[in-house]
Symmetry: C2
Subunit: 380 residues, 2 copies
């Protein structure tokens, strides 16, 4: 029997009861049944986004929410600061440029978290008043790094600039407090930490960001959030949403709130620590200096090509890991463990890694990875 | 037992085997399994779009594809002609304006199809060379009207302007021949004629449109179709698609091709004719002059409010019809019968209408609607 296991940093595995609800008859989106689902989703997202602001669902990929963020706050000629520390930081820069933003970068070596002082320095250089927004990434999955959004918020709050955070990866798995940390625009998507199928992106704006929104001039329609606000008081979307995916998202969020946000965060922290310990115990190095708890990025042994190892593990054991992106293409392997991933699941994934390494002749320490992981997982 | 029946012009009912595939494990979108699905979908869409051009899937509502159409061919200051003959014609105008287009309208009374000569006249007035594109709607579901795209194409081909058609409703149910009719941009969505869940929009561009696309200057990123072309040769999407919905779409399209496009069109024509005959036999008037085969829009009796009749039928019989939009709000009832709707289904819907009318005291001709419908359906 061949079974397949997806350990990528999105999409992530879907619990069966989340998947099952998609087979139910469609709920018409301009009627109470749908409004109630939307309202419940917003309520269940609040503890994960840490916000009391409106939370809006947009049918689209995570990139759709990134564009919604830019389209609603950046007018052509606006100065913006973009933290470029990985593949998704580069995407921020690309979208801002597409909307006519004057991009000033804070360049960070891939694998390192940004030092908030660099953002402060750049804000000073630009004159804080003249900067529309600072764009950064919570977890850049290309490097496996988590950035200290709270510390960045401490800096940005001293300036007029909005703080916009791509939290596509991270939210739902690690603590995120948009309101407390001074995040003006926070966004995510259904297929990552929220253990749902892809197709729904999520965005929340602060009161300051909503004010900027009203004066933003550029070419937008589908992503114009004021349209989503129009009937938000009764939780009605402006366009036909991905109804089945929304229902799956609803069931997933209910399950996450039953588990409890703190427990969800603790589970991810434990699984991540087990994965990192195992990788280190196998003599391999974890790539990021400040690793996130939602994926483990590491370098394969010098003598084994990353692609060969990934292909072998997938073919022989059915376990699929992601490869590197951008400048890390071919250089790292990325094990995603966000969403519906438990201690038991990660042991299987790490076991596949150990067996794959041994198959390809790695002079390994067979069993040491799993032994170390067990210690971490059992001591909790 | 309460059962509910959705007879709206989108979303439409989903066959159980289409719904069921959504529960299967996610297919990773950057691997062969997904590429094969995408390729098969494109092949199965060809007979319904009538095009040999690339067909691109975008995660989003139908409006997303409308925006993709505008964003890729309209630069600020471009002159565009918009046929405004219903709610969705108005949406074309709104999106074109949002992208800086100089909108010239061809205004048509709601319920009438546009006379192609009016488009010709407007093109002459504007000077054909100076018009970037003509925007129109195949079936505007707000009025239930089908427009003669072939005849419009005959006119537009004599000018430099592109012909852009919102075929969100209609494609998949009624014959549409983009290439033969000279349609440069054709678009639709999964949740209408394609009997799939909402979440996927579809767009196809002619070679001329692709050429315009390269020089279009405006603010776009997610909808920039050149990004979707980059890895189209191996059927890989640029952003994480709504994978489960794509799989449902794939199963639905296979079923539609097994039935055969001609048979699908004939089924819709028959069902529509039965619905119109029944409505007329009940002494009510079909609203559009040139009715489409995908929905039946009619006026309720003067003495019964549309909303009251719809609510009553929904509460008592579980059958849900749509109300009017825009200037027709409260004035008409819209029975959607696109996608997975058969002769048997429409009889149930029409029966609910007859019973609802009788319940509310309509001095009816009880049974005459269904009797007439049976004649139409049985004689085929």
């Amino acid at each position: 029997m061949r079974k397949e296991y997806l350990f990528t940093p999105g999409p992530t595995p879907i619990p069966s009861k989340v998947a099952a609800v998609q087979t139910e008859d469609l709920v018409y989106h301009r009627r109470k049944d749908y409004h109630e689902i939307y309202e419940r989703i917003v309520g269940n997202l609040r503890p994960f986004f840490g916000t009391e602001q409106p939370i809006i669902l947009i049918t689209g990929s995570g990139t759709a929410a990134m564009e919604a963020a830019v389209a609603n706050v950046v007018s052509p000629g606006d100065r913006v600061i973009v933290v470029r520390s990985g593949f998704f930081g580069d995407r921020w820069a690309d979208i801002c440029k597409a909307f006519g933003g004057m991009v000033r970068s804070v360049d960070v070596e891939w694998g390192r978290a940004v030092n908030p002082r660099l953002i402060e320095q750049r804000l000073e250089e630009e004159g804080g008043k003249n900067t529309r927004a600072v764009f950064c990434t919570f977890v850049d999955t290309s490097t496996g790094t988590v950035h200290d959004i709270e510390a960045i918020g401490e800096v940005v709050k001293n300036y007029d600039a909005l703080l916009v955070v791509d939290a596509v990866s991270g939210v739902g798995c690690m603590e995120f407090r948009a309101d407390e940390w001074g995040v003006d625009v926070a966004l995510s998507a259904s297929q990552k930490g929220f253990m749902s199928p892809p197709g729904i992106s999520v965005i929340a704006l602060s009161a300051d960001a909503w004010r900027v929104c009203e004066h933003t001039k550029n070419h937008r329609y589908y992503f114009d959030l004021t349209r989503y606000r129009e009937n938000y008081d009764r939780f009605e979307p402006p366009y036909t949403p991905a109804i089945n995916t929304v229902r799956a998202f609803d069931v997933a969020l209910q399950a996450m709130n039953e588990e409890g946000p703190k427990q969800v965060f603790a589970r991810h922290e434990r699984v991540a620590r087990a994965a990192r310990s195992a990788v280190s115990a196998l003599g391999l190095s974890v790539f990021p200096m400040n690793p996130a708890d939602v994926l483990t990025v590491f370098k394969p042994p010098d003598e084994i090509a990353a692609a060969e190892l990934r292909d072998h593990i997938y073919k022989k054991y059915g376990v699929f890991f992601a490869g590197g992106q951008g400048q890390l293409k071919g250089k790292v392997i990325r094990i995603g463990h966000m969403g519906a991933v438990t201690s038991i699941d990660i042991l299987g994934a790490l076991g596949a890694l150990e067996m794959g390494l041994a198959d390809l002749g790695y002079d390994g320490r067979q069993g040491q990875g799993l032994t170390t992981a067990l210690e971490v997982l059992r001591n909790e």
